[in-house]
């Protein structure tokens, strides 16, 4: 996937829509171009995504107010354990059948710090180490946010008939 499309896919989930994402990506490319001296080797893609993330935060602060990190994010092991409780494959099949709009709505509803890690992992395909570096957090935080995000999605998409 070309870097530009990659940057756009990430920005689309941080800003919430493709139009604002394009403005943010353009701003990020400007910053990348002016700040090429800060590129210290390694993955150019991860470097660009980090700049996109900063540009998104600037944009969000201006347009939406600050991004809040939930306090309970590290102490959610119990919640995780109590998550989906079924032990058959019916829910997995239901998730596999979920349509794009449904999945997108569920992702959009995630708390931003969880959404960001989920998107970097499952949309952009970054490794845990890359994500940890990018968001300047320990790997444990990445793992906890990722599993939390996925658990929320699984519960929404897998249990959607139960809720109805």
């Amino acid at each position: 996937m070309p870097h530009l499309a990659d940057a756009l896919a990430f920005a689309r989930w941080l800003t919430g829509n493709a139009h604002d994402a394009e403005d943010v990506v353009q701003e990020a490319c400007l910053r990348a171009y002016a700040g090429i001296g800060t590129y210290a080797g390694g993955s150019a893609r991860a470097w660009l995504l980090a700049i996109v993330r900063n540009a998104c935060h600037t944009w969000l602060a201006k347009n939406r107010g600050p991004m809040l990190v939930p306090l309970d994010e590290v102490t959610d092991a119990d919640l995780l354990a109590a998550g989906s409780s079924g032990d058959d494959d019916a829910e997995a099949a239901m998730i596999a059948r979920a349509d794009a709009a449904e999945i997108e709505a569920a992702i959009a509803a995630l708390p931003p710090p969880f959404r960001e890690v989920l998107v970097l992992r499952d949309i952009n395909g970054l490794g845990y180490r890359e994500i940890a570096d990018l968001i300047s957090a320990p790997i444990g935080t990445v793992m906890s946010r990722l599993s939390r995000a996925r658990t929320i999605l699984i519960r929404q998409l897998g249990g959607r008939n139960d809720r109805a």
Partner: protein, 261 residues
């Protein structure tokens, strides 16, 4: 749930590690221990199935394509002097230029070299065409069959622009050669019209200087030069033909491309 061989017994911890297992981020020892446990722990195995299902569902989500407008705006960053790093001849300027090319083109080791100023480009294209006229043969590979020309270009430089033969309209395909323009390697198609040759240079749009809007013409060192673009390439056709005849050729070329969609 008791556990041998050091696997965490806390179910929450096991579920946390499950994600790492699915993502291929677990070391071999932990992975094999967790897999052993999955064999006997049905709820955990069902959770893995759900994670796998979610991952593949997310992979199939449509991805936003950068609009033509965004691509233009990003390319413009590279040509806008005000956005350029201050010292213009150090490695950063070069790296920044390469960066812009790779952002737009992606996977850009081949094209991530540098972009070429438009006026230099026209001059290089004219020089290449002139040399082709003087050389014993204007092509590196002579064939009027696009099924030979395209694979040959693809094998040489990894690019295969459309290479249709227009013999019925008086513009037979002579063959193809590889040109060097600035520091880019470009596929060039050669057509003949009566005793005149036409060189058609095709560069991936990201590597080309400012994309022209619609066919535009000029002259370079006495040759007629017409440039236009489609979705994948920017083209330059150069010839000592009369401008009207060159325009007729370009219309043929564009019409054929439009037929293919």
């Amino acid at each position: 749930m008791t556990e041998r061989d050091g696997q965490p017994i806390d179910p929450g911890e096991a579920r946390l590690l499950l994600h790492a297992l699915v993502d291929g981020e677990l070391d071999a020892a932990s992975a094999s221990a967790l897999e052993r446990r999955l064999a006997t722990d049905a709820p955990l195995a069902a959770e893995r199935a759900r994670i796998v299902a979610l991952r593949s569902a997310m992979r199939q989500l449509p991805r936003p394509e950068p609009s033509a407008d965004l691509r233009r705006r990003v390319i413009a960053i590279g040509t806008d002097a005000s956005a350029r790093p201050r010292r213009s001849f150090d490695w950063r300027a070069l790296a920044a230029t390469a960066l812009i090319a790779s952002l737009v083109a992606g996977g850009g080791t081949y094209w991530g070299v540098s972009r070429v100023a438009p006026q230099d480009m026209a001059g290089d294209i004219a020089s290449n065409h002139r040399r082709a006229l003087i050389a014993p043969t204007p092509v590196d590979m002579a064939s009027s069959d696009r099924h030979q020309v395209k694979p040959w270009l693809d094998a040489k430089i990894g690019l295969s622009p459309p290479a249709d033969d227009f013999a019925r309209d008086g513009f037979p395909l002579v063959g193809a050669r590889i040109d060097v323009i600035g520091n880019l390697v470009a596929p060039t198609l050669v057509y003949r019209h009566n005793e005149h040759l036409i060189s058609v240079v095709a560069l991936p749009r990201a590597a080309s200087p400012q994309p022209p809007a619609g066919p535009s013409g000029s002259s370079a060192r006495g040759f007629s030069l017409v440039t236009w673009e489609d979705r994948a390439f920017t083209y330059w056709a150069i010839s000592d033909l009369e401008r009207a005849e060159l325009d007729a050729f370009v219309r043929l070329f564009q019409a054929r491309a439009a037929e293919k969609g």
